[in-house]
Symmetry: C2
Subunit: 578 residues, 2 copies
């Protein structure tokens, strides 16, 4: 059977030794109370909750799934509602929401650390609070104070949950094709008509109300993305006193049967003249949506990180226990897989946590220059976190099965679920190909390439300044940086004249970028581990850093060469010849 133990030692190492996250409490007045001790205590509380309450529902939730009933209601797996209420009662739903809107006002970083654990323990469950947080962020960023006062407190407390209503059958990656119509009413509200698909947590009975953040087109608005607006559409209308009024005309007409995340309901939602209120200004819906979407992409990255950790720790445990006749971890190919899994998971954790830390600095640091720089990092890192952790979850989910051998294919061992649950992560909130396009077409060019220039400058400096004992990784990192800089230069030179050539290798470029970043993370982890007194911990970290340096960083060169090969004549080839 699969098991889960929160990797508290790892989490603390990354937060405190590698990222020095304690500086957050010192430099950001908002977070003065969020000392490392407080943070640690909350992490331990969450860890226990995940281990004892959420992970036990992971396999049963997968087996049971969600059920839609003829009256348009949906039931979630046994135990989910109680677990959600307990989770909310702990304050976890609004953990980093501002206190003035009912949250605990803790750092975003803490939310994400908790989210990693929740997503290891039960990624299907994690979507209920996850989307609620996303809806909160969208309303918090763009809605009127009246709307905020109406909805945000209950979204923080978890009494209500949230969704995002974006996708339509004809409008997946291409949101310009959104057809849902918003008809202005005399009282300033709108009537929404249309159909949405793939709506996570669109209907369930876990909370008293469900708040939908919807993308729609006001009648008469321009075609394309510039005619889209955002609306808040509650399942139950909210009266002036905050109590629930009549049922709104938004219904779940079907739910999807999916490869994985069976415990998470994925709904088809019909808006039959549902009442909604505009969020932000008309025709600025895409910008409003992207506030949430960018953070949602980081969230999905953490979902992937959680699944990477689950795959890695189970494969490791099995490799230590299973004898054929010696423990299989002593077979070179199995040990290679375990090192690969650790190298990717632990390297990705630093990337993900650092990105979350930058979100806190970007939103709350008193110095605008620090905020600006932190925001640059968030922008650059978002596609990297999303794609690296989710591709990683699928790769490692598959590799964990491989470590288990035939047993990994059997449902009761709980390992194949990782691969099934993880695959969606590469798809939603923008496929990983979309992330790569975002990196190549947008992030490289943002603010004159400022983020990327800073990235190279910081990493080159770290590699150059590394003490000789870290040359084993600083050397390969320098080479990777040189290769990546050259590929980046090639993209800059190629993009204006031949965008398809520059884009053809975008996924390889994204992977090269992420591996380089992870190489930098491993350099920092090796440095921080060297100062540790726990010899076993130090030995494991240094060996994994060696593995990353020898086996993974050298892949950057090959990937960059492929990128620079461009699209040749592939795009001109008649599609019918394929």
């Amino acid at each position: 059977m699969a098991s889960y133990t929160a990797p508290l030692r790892e989490i603390s190492f990354v937060l405190n030794e590698v990222l020095k996250a304690g500086n957050l409490a010192k430099s950001v007045p908002n977070f003065a109370d969020a000392t490392p001790e407080i943070i640690q205590e909350m992490i331990e509380t969450a860890a226990k909750f995940v281990e004892q309450e959420l992970f036990p529902l992971n396999a049963s939730g997968d087996a049971e799934g969600c059920t839609r009933h003829p009256d348009n209601t949906v039931s979630v797996p046994k135990g989910f509602t109680e677990a959600f209420k307990a989770y909310a009662a702990n304050g976890f739903v609004g953990i980093s929401n501002p206190t003035e809107y009912g949250g605990l006002g803790m750092p975003y970083l803490l939310w994400k650390v908790v989210e990693e654990m929740v997503c290891s323990g039960n990624v299907a469950f994690a979507l209920y609070p996850g989307l609620t947080g996303g809806c909160f962020e969208a309303l918090h960023a763009s809605a009127s104070e009246e709307i905020k006062q109406t909805y945000l407190h209950k979204l923080s407390s978890g009494e209500w949950t949230g969704t995002m209503l974006l996708t339509e059958p004809q409008a997946g990656s291409d949101l310009a094709a959104v057809k849902t119509k918003a008809i202005p009413q005399a009282d300033g509200s709108y009537k929404l008509e249309g159909g949405k698909i793939f709506i996570t947590s669109g209907e369930h009975g876990m909370a008293d109300n469900i708040i939908h953040f919807a993308l729609a087109r006001i009648e008469g608005a321009p075609a394309g993305v510039k005619g889209l607006s955002t609306f808040v559409v509650p399942k139950f209308l909210v009266k002036a006193d905050g109590s629930l009024g009549e049922r709104n005309a938004i219904y779940c007409s079907a739910i999807e049967h999916k490869m994985g995340i069976h415990g998470s309901v994925t709904s088809v939602m019909n808006l039959d003249g549902a009442t909604g209120w505009i969020v932000g200004n008309p025709n600025e819906g895409i910008q409003n949506m992207f506030v949430m979407m960018n953070l949602a992409r980081i969230m999905v990255g953490f979902q992937g990180l959680g699944q990477m950790e689950l795959a890695t720790q189970n494969a490791l445990r099995y490799a230590l226990e299973r004898k054929q006749p010696k423990p299989i971890i002593d077979f070179p190919d199995v040990r290679r897989m375990i090192l690969q899994m650790k190298a990717m998971t632990e390297g990705a954790r630093v990337l993900a946590y650092e990105t979350a830390l930058y979100v806190d600095y970007a939103h709350h640091h008193p110095d605008p220059a620090v905020r600006e720089e932190a925001n640059d990092w968030v922008e650059l890192n978002t596609p990297l976190v999303k794609s690296t952790c989710t591709d990683g979850a699928v790769d490692l989910g598959s590799m964990a099965i491989q470590v288990y051998g035939g047993h990994g294919f059997i449902v009761e061992h709980g390992i194949e679920q990782i691969l099934r649950d993880s695959k969606i992560l590469c798809l939603y909130e923008g496929t990983n190909g979309i992330q790569a396009m975002d990196l190549v077409r947008r992030k490289l060019f943002l603010n004159g390439g400022r983020s990327v220039t800073r990235f190279f400058s910081l990493l080159n400096k770290a590699a150059a300044e590394a003490a000789p004992e870290f040359a084993f990784i600083a050397g390969p990192l320098k080479q990777a940086l040189a290769d990546l800089e050259s590929a980046t230069q090639w993209i800059y030179e190629t993009f204006r004249s031949k965008p398809e050539d520059a884009s053809f290798g975008c996924c390889d470029y994204q992977r090269a970028f992420a591996l380089t970043y992870l190489g930098y993370n491993w350099l920092r982890m090796a440095q921080a581990a060297s100062a540790q007194s726990d010899e076993l911990f130090k030995a494991g970290k240094l060996a994994t850093a060696h593995y990353f340096a020898a086996k993974l960083l050298p892949q950057v060169g090959g990937l960059c060469a492929t990128v620079k090969g461009g699209a040749e004549d592939f795009m001109a080839l008649p599609a019918a010849s394929l």
Copy 2:
């Protein structure tokens, strides 16, 4: 919804234009009647059967799965029994079995071409005739004439089906730990006692009898693999006149719930003093088993190939149809995925078909020198076919989902099933890590490295002699060969003194080897395609060859560098530090 159309144009191209398989009928007297015309006719018959009878049961079989009843019987999904009887009536079960044992006496290659299609259409179904063929081969190679006469005709006709009873809970990759006991009886038979797991087709009602080929240890035999013997254990004892007698004491005590191939029953089998007869000599069970196992590995490769084709053709169709707003195949990253899928599938098909062709030459060519050389190829290619086509199936199954976007995660589209069905292929009949060990530790050294020397000599010659118009691929192929030869030399030099160092990168070496082989296949396909008059076909083939040359062959260098990096100190690291 997923669809399947047999790739008849591709199959014919590989058989006739690339591999010149028509020579088989000319040079092997056994196959004088197996002219390209006859072969083509049988392929078309099988294609129609798969498209019309088997593929329609693929999704329903996945949804329904198998059920075990309290009386130890198992029911298979609706339609499977009728389809199997029709399949058998067409002669497909014994298509390449010798006519003296009830087969059609056609080439093994034809069997495998049919198997590719069956495994695209319904890989769960394919296991019933597939294992029957494996059991036939094992008995045909090692059993006494009396046993052959008792069982082989009905295994050819499909009136009976077969299994292999190898794995036990403690004995997966390590068969030395097999405990099932065989107690000699006065009449020359044995009573078998023990428990087997992961038995494909171990119990069902599709055929009148089930013939188990079992690995067990005769009482008093040595420990380890050298004390294992093989036995034939029928579900129903067979009377002297060939009619069925009493039920044998072998029962299905449970079936597994699996990630995929739900239509295939995977049984736990209890042998409660079941009567069996020895196959071959005592304590030579491992050798007997490997006759079957080697061919079973090729079979699994074809299962993978079938799934690669299914993934590729569905992704292509969707990419042509789906508009966001232009057909998504016109987005660089989607086109890149389609080219990647075609490059791997079509390249792997040549590898798989060529290996099957060599099996025919190895078994039937009149010239012993040709037989010996063909056998060398089969030995070398077996791990390559098994691992390349099955890793490929998982990679492409995942990529097909990626092309479909969120829709790929939804069960009703029939795409996620590919990934679920394919993952087992990387595990059974020796995990792909075991294949890599077989390549590195055994195949490289076999007959003084004769197979590998011949491989390099043939491929170097092909690259050197390629006309200038094929330099685009001959050049990268030469480079890949140089890199692979250098890694091979390193393994030879390292293996004796540091076997773990040599083995650590075995999976990377295996992939490098396979990519080089596929590069050679693409050179040959490019050459053969150039002579075609169908301009669209030619353009597609040449573009895909360009893709392989530019994007895949260059990976060989990086993989070989990793291989030569060895294991550093990773194997000496205390397991507790991981």
